[in-house]
């Protein structure tokens, strides 16, 4: 029993200091750090989104995603074959799609709030994963939550309200690991106030030079047997990415 004391003291001290540290930061700063724990400010990544219904794979898409904070997101589908080459451009809450296979040489403007290609993710979830730009956030408490592979983890709970009606969800609730501000889980709410979707950030591994979650598991609370899983295969930070990539002219090239 005496041997347990140092461990208990360390846990208490760590929890206390991490909470103190968290209290030094504003809610926006905490969420900003949480965003950076998932994605850097400018990157290229390759990922797969698999949607399962009742445990069976309904669809699978491979894609390349380019993102630059404050500039835009560009997604290009690489598989399945019938979708290869379809591109999306999202910036300032606007979304365009270009399909080089179609007879249309035009980029088509879409609503960013809609589902991304029939997955549980919305266009905005895939294209612009920035909570601080879309939501007004505040810390609402602390919780100890069970994280697969890590056991019980002390988390800061932050809630965010959509800054405008164009945002995909009216409210978000985030669970952020207090020790390093790694985002663990998020819950998204519809305008009615009811929970709509949840996303879990798991399988932490080295991506783009630091530890990041590599699997995002999005569950629909409307259709409980459907889940979409985004697996990040590789991610490269690219601070020198040109703004010109995120133009309609470049989208249709």
């Amino acid at each position: 029993m005496r041997n347990l004391y140092p461990g208990i003291i360390i846990v208490i001290v760590c929890t206390f200091t991490s909470n103190l540290y968290a209290q030094d930061l504003s809610a926006e700063q905490i969420v900003r750090k949480a965003e950076q724990s998932v994605y850097p400010d400018s990157f290229v990544m390759r990922a797969t989104i698999e949607t399962l219904k009742s445990g069976e794979v309904e669809s699978r898409m491979d894609m390349q995603i380019r993102y630059k904070r404050g500039t835009g997101t560009r997604i290009e589908l690489l598989a399945p074959a019938r979708s290869h080459g379809i591109r999306f451009l999202q910036k300032e809450g606007n979304l365009w799609m270009f399909n080089p296979r179609a007879g249309s040489g035009q980029a088509i403007r879409l609503s960013p709030r809609a589902s991304f290609q029939g997955t549980v993710f919305s266009n905005r979830d895939v294209g612009d994963p920035q909570y601080t730009t879309d939501y007004t956030v505040q810390v609402v408490g602390h919780e100890s939550i069970d994280v697969p592979g890590s056991g019980q983890v002390n988390a800061i709970v932050v809630e965010g309200l959509a800054r405008n009606a164009q945002i995909a969800y009216a409210k978000v609730r985030l669970w952020i690991r207090a020790s390093d501000y790694m985002i663990l889980k998020a819950e998204y709410f519809a305008k009615s106030g009811l929970p709509f979707k949840t996303v879990e950030f798991t399988n932490i591994r080295n991506l783009g030079g630091r530890e990041r979650p590599s699997v995002l598991r999005m569950l629909s609370l409307d259709q409980k047997d459907r889940v979409s899983v985004m697996t990040i295969h590789d991610l490269t930070e690219d601070p020198a990415m040109a703004d010109a990539i995120f133009t309609l002219s470049a989208l249709t090239r």
């Binding site: 074959a81 007879g103 040109a242």
Partner: protein, 457 residues
Amino acid sequence: MTNQKAALNPIWLTMLVAAACLGAPQRGFAQDNSLFGSVETSVTDSIAGGNAQTSSVAGLAPYGQILSGGVKAHLIERSTFADGELYIDDTLAWLGGSDGGMLSNTLAQGYIAVSPLPELTVVVGKRRISWGAGYAFFPGDLINPPASPDNRSTGFSGILATIAPSASFTLTAAVRFDTAFPELATLSGFTPTVAGIAPSSLPFLAAYLQSVPDNPWLSLRYVLYADMLFGNLDLYAASTYQYNSVLRPAAGFSIDLGGVIANGELAVEFSNSSLYPAASSAAFARPALGTPFPIFTVGLQRTVTSDAGSYAITAEYLYDGTGYTAAQEATVSGDLLQAFSALGGSASVAKLRAEYASADASSSAWFSSGSVLPAFGRHYAAVSLSASAGNAFEATAAGLVNLQDGSFAVQPELRLRWQSGVDLFARAVAAWGPNDNSEFGLLPTPVTVTTGAVVHF
């Protein structure tokens, strides 16, 4: 479908060879050299409708017989290199029918893009400017080849430069060469089609009225196109100019209104030598050079994608102010008849004059020896509906209505995503209207149904 016989231009042939020399295309996540596309095989049948004159003129087979069948390969090759990119979008098709087969090649786009600076891209080759936010109508677009709702993928041959000082502002300057050197355009004979139905033409008249000046350099066409994004309001402004032929400034917008995309575009034609869409064989009108002729379009589009499927509704209206007013027709027809007569058509002039005299000013149909000059309207509507269920089934329907005379063309299509990468489809095309003669040809057209399979790779 607008396949046409086209010789493989040496420029495009060189680019295709260059693409092949860049190495075997890779799949999966590789983006340095990417080849994808589809192979489609189909048969087209005439199942009902149509008048005897239509069948006679078009040389159609009796109902129930296969009109044509064929196979086409659509290839898109994209290769990136240091600060540049080679892009080729090509369709090779073989179409068989009762009168034999025809092999055709259509190069929709084929160009080399180079970015000497991050903000600057220079493109040489055949390229399309993605114009505005419309679905069916692009009043200011006289740089891309004539548009139609079912095929707008073809680019123009020339050179263009795009400057993007920020992601929210781009300025494009382009020079189109194939207006001066038609041999550059493998689709130089492209005519506007609606749901696969091409209007009739009077080639000799078009040749007379669209004659190229002695100095081809005077026939280069220029465009400046600027695109700006302010919040969720996308604005664009453009101007197209060709010596003694085109002067058409335009401005447009699109805005996201809570999930409904509204768009509009206003163009003003000062030269009036090009109707909408451009390069129609009927683009002979120039009754009032220097007089501004407005052309505008407004539209709404709603696309919803949910867990269960998606649907999209698009509706657009077009007012086309170019061409003739009733008063102008009376003035110009005299010149037209003189031109016709000078070309050796005197035997038919009396008939032409008689038909013109008895025709309604807004929907007149002018007959000559077996050819029909289509009656273009001033008010149009385009509607497109599509719905998909899960990942398996898709239904679309596109229609274009000439509100002037009530004629309309429709193209419904059903598509089944049968296997991974394999689609089965059935598509019908038909046009009807209260008058026999319209811009869709002689009405009603037979209902044709095309069935086929597409393998994507």
